[in-house]
């Protein structure tokens, strides 16, 4: 029996006097006990599904169409009745676990309140029930946790508490909106596993909303791929992953780097998904402007979803050609021979001293005894979870922090001391690309002024010189030259990150330190940036230290990798060796956390059969 039936769902936003459908013509049914993965990049409208079900839409949005839960019409139902369903029969797990919990109430009080609202158990029995719940989500020492506040728990623990609360009422439908995005890699996989286990044992149906196609394919029975609020493809998860029928699904897959295969080039889709205001101006298929298979017929009318297999629908008129979209050859943008050694880090440590209370000082060793060298044109990666000290290494290399022990030799000069001359030396050779472009670009400066800040610092440059330089750099990072006079607030996330890179390149540094530069970006934008970095290396030659929690990104870009754990390098070596044959248990646990990779599995199978497309490329 179907739990949720969605038929021709439309969510529209009022902009001025016009009504623009943000989600349109969406239909699917969710069977009891099955998991539906909803996949799309930001702006695809995937969160709108959960919001439409709960009827918590932003102002000016409205829902039409059929939305029935166990045969009851959710849209026409009185608000009071819906409120009874929500939280009891339909539960939610939010994206940000910390904001999902009340900071001023203990966990115990919140669970108690939740149970009281649901009418579960008498007052006495509720505490025992709460303990059982926390046990079920495998939280250690649940009795202690009941007395704690949200800020005393880690993000993963908060998410477990929220999952426990969501399952407390034995809901029939669980809606998880990017439940792992804000968490660390290893925590992510445990949370996904937990949801999956509870789902199986309780027979709950789940709508799992995520931007990660690989994760969705791993956890779901069915996958729904959304593009600009329209169904692109819907079908069995494994089939969609192994044999995508919509060009967007195929491109998403090809633009997502894999931990296991480094040699395939990444497909980078041009441009980005149209925003709400641009929806009206695209004729026919909304994916058309970015589609590699587009023909004139695509622009004539919006394609209908047609069946291409058992329960597999796709909204594309040329879906038979999708499988022919190939990843680009990697050699075209690939590596340059290494040059001389540029940077040597010798047993460097960094200890922060913090005041706690009035007189007590505690020392915290963020980085412990790390060693490495970097050659010209070499890309090395540093991977680890948050709090492992990766970012401190980045700041040490750039001279934003001074090492407390050890030695840093840059281009033949000892720069450990952090005096003025060595700082200048560092700045001439190393530049940093910052993690969060929102915070890294001064909102009050124009793009040209940001990019050429180094010229401003050096003095003498006229505005005309700076503008010319800015346009040249913008061209290099693939932005139009009219972006020079715009402000960061007028750019998208990916464009901002390009500006960020352009600024670092302005002084033509020999080393770039890149701290999580693609985290938080959509897969297709990420692929554009990764390929951009490879292209820039082949054009102007520089080395890079890439700091990331994303193993696949490191595998794609870097030849060598260092695995960092609690301030130390626990494993180092060529990326392929480390990721294919991890020696240290921590590296193993990082790798185990990555969702299974059907494409790589398939590629490996091919290789065994003697066909090895990957090897032909390089």
């Amino acid at each position: 029996m179907s739990i949720l039936a969605v038929d021709n769902l439309e969510v529209s936003a009022r902009i001025g006097t016009a009504r623009i459908p943000v989600v349109s013509g969406l239909g699917f049914t969710l069977q009891r006990g099955s998991v539906l993965g909803v996949v799309g990049e930001s702006g695809a409208g995937k969160s709108m599904i959960g919001r439409a079900i709960a009827q918590i839409l932003p102002q000016g949005f409205s829902v039409t169409g059929g939305l029935s839960f166990l045969g009851q019409d959710l849209i026409g139902m009185p608000a009071e009745q819906r409120r009874m369903l929500l939280g009891r029969d339909i539960a939610f797990v939010p994206q940000e676990p910390l904001s999902g919990l009340n900071p001023v109430l203990t966990i115990g009080a919140q669970i108690d309140e939740h149970l009281a609202r649901l009418g579960i158990g008498a007052k006495r029995a509720r505490r025992d029930y709460a303990l059982d719940m926390l046990n079920a989500v495998r939280l250690p020492r649940p009795a202690d946790i009941l007395g704690k506040y949200a800020h005393q728990l880690s993000g993963g623990m908060c998410q477990r508490v929220l999952i426990a609360m969501a399952f407390a009422s034995r809901p029939k439908l669980l809606i998880a909106d990017e439940p792992t995005t804000a968490l660390d890699v290893t925590t992510q996989s445990r949370i996904v596993e937990l949801i999956r286990d509870l789902q199986r044992s309780e027979g709950t149906s789940v709508i799992f909303i995520t931007h990660d196609l690989r994760l969705a394919a791993d956890i779901s029975d069915q996958v729904l791929v959304l593009y600009a609020g329209r169904l692109a493809e819907y079908g069995p998860a494994k089939e969609i992953f192994a044999d995508a029928a919509h060009p967007y699904t195929r491109c998403l897959q090809l633009s997502n780097p894999s931990v296991h295969a480094s040699r395939i080039g990444l497909y980078s889709l041009p441009d980005r998904m149209p925003g709400i205001s641009a929806l009206g101006s695209i004729a026919g298929c909304l994916f058309g402007p970015r589609c590699p298979n587009v023909i004139d017929a695509c622009r004539e009318k919006t394609p209908r979803a047609v069946s291409v297999g058992e329960g597999h629908d796709v909204a594309c008129i040329r879906s038979d050609l999708t499988a022919r979209i190939d990843p680009p050859l990697r050699q075209a943008i690939d590596k340059k021979p290494y040059g001389a050694s540029l940077l040597t880090v010798e047993s460097v440590s960094k200890t922060f001293s913090m005041t706690s209370g009035i007189f007590r000082r505690t020392n915290f060793q963020a980085v412990r005894n790390i060693n490495f060298t970097l050659q010209q044109n070499e890309f090395v990666g540093i991977v680890g979870e948050s709090g492992s000290g990766k970012s401190t290494v980045a700041r040490l290399l750039c001279g934003l922090e001074t090492a407390t022990e050890g030695k840093l030799v840059l281009a033949g000069r000892d720069v450990t001391g952090g005096d003025k001359v060595s700082r200048q030396h560092q700045r001439a050779h190393i530049q940093m690309v910052f993690q969060d472009p929102q915070s890294a670009l001064n909102p009050r400066r124009s793009v040209a002024s940001i990019i050429t800040q180094a010229m401003e610092a050096a003095g003498q440059a006229t505005w005309r010189d700076r503008l010319a330089k800015a346009e040249a750099l913008l061209h290099e990072v693939g932005l139009p030259s009219d972006a020079a006079l715009r402000f960061p607030s007028e750019l998208s996330g990916g464009q901002k990150q390009r500006v960020n890179i352009a600024r670092a390149l302005c002084r033509a540094p020999e080393i770039l330190v890149a701290d999580e530069i693609v985290s938080g970006l959509d897969v297709s934008v990420q692929a554009q940036l990764l390929n951009l970095l490879l292209r820039l290396r082949s054009e102007r030659s520089f080395s890079m230290v890439l700091i990331s929690h994303d193993l696949a990104v490191v595998r794609y870009l870097c030849d060598r990798v260092f695995v960092m754990h609690k301030g130390e390098f626990v494993e180092a070596g060529p990326t392929a060796d480390v990721f294919d044959h991890p020696q240290h248990p921590y590296t193993e646990s990082l790798l185990a956390a990555v969702p299974r990779d059907f494409v790589a599995d398939a590629a490996r199978r091919d290789r065994r059969n003697g066909i090895s497309p990957a090897d032909e490329i390089v």
């Binding site: 700041r395 001279g399 934003l400 200048q424 915070s439 001064n442 009050r444 401003e456 610092a457």
Partner: protein, 283 residues
């Protein structure tokens, strides 16, 4: 941004009120119908011209020495506006400079400046300014000095916390990596980010300065007795409060109007310049 500032009705109302007061202050000798200190002992305590027994040549009546109230109000605006502008600018410069240094460099300098502000703020502000005035003696320059000495802490504390927020942004680190010196980072990256707050605080402080000056002149601790000031007029009118209540109300109303003008202006500027409020309004 500038255009949206002048589209805000609060800013326009505030600017109108403040503008009228400033014009009065600057052109006082041209506008005022009488010499503010000219005594006219035959016509003391005249009511405003429109009420019974009023004299049309003394539009708002006269005080107990027969001086023209309107002229004294107009001349009183001179003291009020001078103090408002100069004292709050002074307090802003002292407070903001210390705040930028404390917030940017942090550590010991920050602790030192922070403690100084704490100690300073533990004195009741009015008492502190009275003590300063007793020590320094009356006069416009000393009033301004006293207000700066008392109120710089307000700027220092508020701006420091804003600097701490901006300081943590990556674009500050980026500017350092580009080779900007510390003073340059402060001037080019941090000051522009705190400018809206600075302007808002400044206009609020102007209202406060008007009140403090009125308090000081009320107790005779501001400008000398032959310079008309609103606080002084309130003090003078206490004797004759039953015979001539308007003599009390009119200067109070002038103070009220000035403070209201600065506050509305400040509020309007805050609403139009504060990036966070703008962002919220747009989405």
């Amino acid at each position: 941004m500038l255009r949206s500032v002048f589209r805000s009705s609060r800013v326009l109302i505030g600017l109108t009120i403040v503008g009228i007061l400033v014009v009065c202050a600057i052109f006082a000798p041209l506008i005022a119908p009488h010499d503010p200190n000219e005594q006219n002992l035959v016509s003391i305590l005249l009511p405003p011209a429109w009420s019974e027994g009023g004299d049309p040549s003394f539009l708002l009546g006269t005080d107990s020495l027969g001086r023209d109230v309107l002229s004294r109000l107009i001349f009183g605006a001179r003291v009020a506006m001078t103090v408002a502008v100069l004292a709050s600018l002074g307090a802003m410069i002292v407070g903001a400079v210390l705040a930028y240094i404390a917030g940017y460099f942090g550590g010991r300098i920050d602790a030192l400046i922070g403690r100084a502000v704490d100690v300073w703020m533990s004195f009741p502000p009015v008492i502190l300014s009275l003590i300063l005035m007793v020590g320094l003696g009356v006069g416009l320059r000393n009033v301004i000095f006293a207000i700066v000495a008392v109120d710089w802490t307000r700027f220092c504390r508020v701006i420091r916390s804003e600097v701490l927020v901006v300081r943590r942004k990556d674009y500050i680190a980026a500017a350092q990596l580009m080779g900007f010196s510390h003073p340059r980072v402060i001037v080019k990256e941090i000051v522009p980010a705190t400018l809206p707050l600075l302007i808002t605080l400044l206009s609020m402080e102007m209202g406060i300065a008007v009140i403090v000056e009125a308090i000081l002149s009320f107790v005779g601790m501001s400008v000398s007795a032959n310079t008309p000031a609103w606080g002084q007029m309130v003090a003078d009118a206490r004797q004759t409060i039953y015979e001539a209540p308007w003599n009390l109300f009119l200067p109070i109303f002038a103070i009220f109007l000035a403070v209201l003008g600065f506050n509305i202006l400040g509020d309007g500027l805050r609403r139009t310049l504060d990036v966070r409020l703008i962002a919220r309004g747009r989405t």
